[in-house]
């Protein structure tokens, strides 16, 4: 087995709410967006990060491309602590680790033409100017924008959402990175064009041998692009394993609910009541012990006292005291 390209150990990202003065007075509160997460990715692996809104998926992605500094644990990229990278190392990291943003309309500067948007990473990586044009054409071609020349001088508002999302993808891929975080890249797109973007994503990942993290709250989409899935809840990992296994036989009660809740385009689907009720608790004030316990149908006294550690069950890691095959 090759060395992991990404390795997280007990990674934490806590946001302080309140200003400097309130911090001085000890009045601020913390949101534990990512709270003690460990996993690693091998080269070429693509992982779906699944979970409810606010569970820390985006925060996790941002750590991996160094948009946030972690507050605890470690987060390594090819063995180097991401937060400690400096100078040319950082520069190198910047060209090897990329992010595809959720909202394509927001992710490109409205005043920049498509050409200028795509030139920015090339300029930063000090790539010789003579090759720029070709690389831009290649990148656009790669993301399936046929006849790239016609897009170069256009401005973002002159493109459709699907086209723009491909431009965003092209920008992430133009430096041929090794690792990509895609944060809900299709959630802002229309149903009929989603499939196209997803296909491009799959295709490019396979062709470039990318290591990828795909963030979504939609299990059906995750299943479409990732062979492995990590289920998060309130900043913690609940279950981590092959996507097909989780879809067909979720072990964690939360995963089970998640799978059961996804509607399918069939009239004869199950209408059974969900195993869990309620909504996610306030992240500033999570329950003690297992964060899921207050909604868990299987919760017992032990769950309130003891934080369940991830256990290996078959192909999977599950953080539940009672999970079993």
């Amino acid at each position: 087995m090759s060395d992991p390209i990404i390795e997280l150990k007990d990674t934490k990202l806590h946001y302080k709410i309140g200003n400097a003065v309130s911090a001085m007075m000890g009045l601020s509160t913390t949101v534990k967006a990512v709270d003690g997460v460990s996993f690693s990715l091998r080269k070429g692996e693509s992982v779906g990060l699944l979970g409810e809104s606010g569970c820390g998926k985006t925060s996790m992605g941002r750590i991996l491309v160094r948009l946030e500094e972690i507050t605890g644990g470690s987060a390594r990229f090819e063995g180097d602590e991401i937060g400690d990278l400096k100078g040319s190392d950082l520069q190198r990291f910047r060209s090897r680790s990329q992010m595809i943003f959720q909202n394509p309309f927001d992710a490109v500067n409205p005043r920049y033409s498509i050409r200028k948007t795509l030139e920015e990473p090339l300029a930063n990586a000090k790539i010789s100017r003579s090759t720029w044009h070709q690389r831009i054409i290649d990148a656009l071609d790669l993301v399936g924008l046929g006849d790239p020349e016609q897009f170069l001088e256009r401005y973002p508002h002159q493109l459709s959402g699907g086209q723009l999302q491909r431009v965003v993808m092209a920008r992430a891929l133009i430096l041929e990175p090794d690792f990509v975080v895609a944060d809900e890249p299709v959630s802002m797109l229309d149903v009929s064009v989603r499939a196209g973007v997803l296909n491009v994503f799959r295709d490019v990942r396979d062709r470039l041998g990318l290591t990828a993290i795909y963030i979504s709250h939609d299990l059906a989409l995750v299943r479409y692009v990732c062979e492995r899935t990590i289920v998060m809840y309130l900043g913690k990992i609940m279950e981590d394993g092959p996507t097909e296994d989780i879809v067909h036989d979720p072990l964690h009660p939360y995963s089970q609910a998640l799978v059961a809740a996804v509607p399918t385009p069939h009239v004869d689907q199950s209408h059974d009541p969900l195993p869990i009720g309620g909504g996610a608790p306030d992240p500033r004030n999570p329950p003690s012990g297992c964060v899921f316990r207050d909604r868990c149908p299987r919760a017992q006294l032990r769950c309130a006292d003891e934080v369940p550690q991830p256990r290996r069950i078959g192909t999977r890691l599950v953080a539940c005291h009672f999970a079993s095959v």
């Binding site: 689907q269 209408h271 009541p273």
Partner: protein
Amino acid sequence: MDAPLLSVKDVSIAYKVGALDIVAVSNARFDVPQGSIVGLVGESGCGKTTMARALTRVIADNARIKAGQMQFAGQDIVSLSEKDMNSLRWRDIAFIPQSAMNSLDPVYRVEYQIVEVLRDRGGLSKSAARKRAVELFEMVGIDPGRLRDFPHQFSGGMRQRAAIALALALEPKLVVADEPVTALDVIIQRQILDQLRSLQRELGLSVIMVTHDISVVAYICDRTVVMYAGKVVEDCDTATLLNEPLHPYTMGLKNAFPDLHSAGTGILTPIAGSPPDLANPPPGCRFAARCPFATDQCRVEEPMLTEDAPGHFVACHRAVEAAALREEAKQPGTWGTAA
């Protein structure tokens, strides 16, 4: 079968933007039977919200219902006087908006907003209205103790439930729900859908459910109306629609949707191209440009919405060949080449 509760006939609605007329809904025609849930699906911008809002006749300043009728319990909503329409609103037709956060007034407690409608529109006394508010909250599964919260203190799911409670306050005959679960997580989405469904059964309501998600339609709707670029292209019971669609757009939509429980991860197929400009729609079938089966006829002659089988309406020149086209549509290659 009873007469439908609502019968929309040849409704056209246009927005005026500068000198242009954007016909967001043209010649829409569908029925909502008594006590059923009707889904309204289609791509973004195809006119779903416009259609739904027209049923309350509270439409944008620049919008106008240009033609058609909307027969509701014997009255035509289009030609009703403003006064009569106003008395119809909420007592007979209630509305659940997509974003409940923005539809609740942030400066009033939720209770006030429910009581307001009960008193102003339902004629209840203050104390009776309060009692009813408690009932409503219990009905939608929120702790009545939270009635005195402000909207922002609610989570997304609670807000959506509060909006449902508000919609049910006056026991309307018809509830129009505009994408009530789109912004929510799957688990909450499922809870809300279940709730809506059971309330609908209990109260004998009719519901129009606007959505772009055919899984949601599959889960909850009795009948489904598919819209494309302002037109109704297909309208039938949901099972038929999903299993034996007649319109190529419906077939394409199905292909583009991931299915969690299908065996294996079959390739998803996008519908290439984009919808036409509504200010200047092309002649013929509006889907023709993206349709892999379009013929020359399709490009010049507009297909009419016809009842192909009992209760199954479709607007396609090639509807008779539908069975064959369905097979062809399952091949991914079919769609990649279009447009």
